[in-house]
Symmetry: C2
Subunit: 363 residues, 2 copies
């Protein structure tokens, strides 16, 4: 068990096979006599009954089954959660249980942050990406047609239950998307972890449960430490966003759901490394092994080639890290050490994008 250390908002992360159906965990972290399970059409048939059976039979349980996909992470779909909660008479002592991937966790978390001005919630992530990233740290929210995660709150869960068994059922594309975030932790947090991961890339790709459990634990540990140091992203926390300014632009440009978030992050990280190298921060030898590794797990190493440079810039300017109109980017100084900088001028970025992020890219 890890702990996210945030004073009176601290909470545990349980990483164990079977966590999803462990009654003791729910008994420990569900304080009222009501619960709302938020899940999706794809996840419900797999795990909803298991979860419900693990709850105290005296609990009044409502269920909200949302459509799958980033394109449904909207205010309109969020309203379905409020509707169910109010119709079934859930009050401020209810607990919202987020059962699913990152989209469900973000939406259920924001519903918890805003229903009756805040009710408790528990994250039960069922994708690798949600397990290592979105379920930890309290970022919740929905997309706006003009930008990703533009409406939301910092709102911490009561607990995160990571059941490593569920990863066996994950479609290959989703699994690979999660690996992108695992690799990210190596890049930003810890060269030794990065090397460890790379040495085990085949076991990881084969979903070896022992290697995977350790990879998840070390990823969550990195995230928990960064979040504890900077809960609301005043500075340091931004490093968790390596590649994400590019990734959000890709997702917005392509339409939510066309690229998986982790896929966009993979391509975005490559751009962040290229830019770090071209700015002279990072040694050029860092790039090739990463490209090889990402390709081996079928992750994209290039952005879509149909985004014009000005469109890139327009989308990137909407990034939440921007301050008074000035873009800030996360770059690498070396493997294991990321930093936030505003020292990339618009001209430099324009030239960089022209070279590496539109049709005719030379590698």
């Amino acid at each position: 068990m890890l702990t996210v250390d945030l004073g009176d908002r601290s909470y545990p992360i349980y990483i164990q096979a079977g966590a999803l159906s462990d009654s003791d965990l729910y008994r420990k972290h569900l304080s009222g006599s009501q619960a709302i399970v938020v899940t999706t059409e794809r996840v419900a048939p797999l795990y909803l009954e298991q979860l419900k059976n693990a709850l105290d039979p005296a609990t009044q349980v409502s269920t909200v089954v949302l459509p799958d996909g980033e394109e449904h992470k909207s205010l309109a779909v969020l309203e379905q959660i409020y509707d169910v909660a109010l119709k079934a008479g859930h009050n401020r002592t209810t607990t919202i249980l987020a059962l699913g991937g990152g989209v469900v966790g973000d939406m259920a978390g924001f519903a918890a942050a805003s229903y009756q001005r805040g009710v408790p919630f528990i994250q039960i992530p069922t994708t690798l990406l949600a397990q290592v990233d979105s379920s930890v740290g309290g970022k919740t929210g929905v997309n706006h047609p003009l930008g990703k995660n533009m409406i939301g709150a910092f709102y911490q869960p009561q607990a995160v239950l990571i059941d490593t068994k569920v990863l066996a059922s994950l479609p290959p594309r989703e699994y690979a998307a999660g690996l992108a975030e695992v690799i990210k932790y190596g890049l930003i947090c810890d060269q030794e972890f990065y090397d460890w991961l790379q040495a085990r890339s085949e076991s990881l790709a084969a979903r070896d449960s022992v290697v995977l459990e350790e990879a998840i634990e070390r990823s969550c540990d990195c995230k928990a430490r960064v979040v504890a140091a900077d809960e609301k992203e005043a500075g340091l926390r931004a490093i968790l966003n390596l590649g994400h300014t590019f990734a959000h632009a890709i997702e917005s440009a392509q339409g939510y759901g066309v690229w998986l978030h982790g896929e966009a992050v993979a391509a975005g990280m490559v751009l962040a490394l290229r830019l770090s190298i071209s700015k002279g921060y990072l040694d050029a030898t860092a790039l090739a092994p990463l490209l090889e590794w990402l390709r081996a797990v079928n992750l994209p190493v290039e952005p879509p080639q149909d985004i014009a440079v000005e469109r890139w810039l327009e989308l990137m300017r909407r990034d939440k890290k921007a301050v008074n109109g000035k873009l800030r980017l996360v770059l690498l100084r070396r493997i294991g050490e990321a930093f936030l900088t505003d020292e990339v001028s618009e001209e430099e970025l324009r030239a960089f994008l022209g070279e590496h992020a539109t049709a005719g890219i030379a590698e």
Copy 2:
């Protein structure tokens, strides 16, 4: 100047004629170079220019003019704020300025709580009700068709600017509605303040500026102390809701905007006093002077008579103070001392509502 004492979320309340156009106050509390003024169709022609002229000319200012009225305090209208903010490129360093009554303050506050996971905001209340009540304490949110303020957040402003000059332009009905909340503070906080107010009821009704300023200051002081002791309404803060469980039911039953919130609170407080008396908590002599006072300022002392008892109960059960399905009500032990209780059974409440809150009410 008063202070709401909440540790690192503490903030000042300025109560002064001309606060709205005091450049120094904005310079002090606006940290970035962007601002979004949220106001309404009725308030904009009166005060929007004054406010804008008081801002640093270098500030990028966007304006959102919402329709007036509680019936527009909805998620759909809230989206207009996000739309304007994103189209104009406001980032996480922007400040939202809420210029208007309680509806604007609640909506702009929730927009601030949720835009890019939270941006600073400043309350500039232009109604008496907003000045003494809704602008202080960080309750923000919107209504849901199934209940008032069901979607929202506890989110504190950077400052509250109360310009007592603006009250001169307030329509009589709005002014009276604000007086209901002022009287509430006397009832829940301080018998001496209650007596002081009652002795000055004519000056208050005539909007005497000296009396009014003191009444606002003492009301805000009561509210600030209660909020400091219990920011998120774990217990004590609920006393600020005297009469509000009844009032919210009235507003829901009649349709938002038919009764003003303060009018519903007046009728709701009378019901709370009647119930306090019938339960033996409060001396019966407390009622008649309050009824006389409310009538003198044209506030309703009876709820609408067309709500059936079962409908009352259904609406009251949605109250956010309810715990595990059990209603909790704020009652009075004496003038100046309120308390939260769950010792009113559903049967008692049913009998009470049958007698006092539907057609045929005997006084």
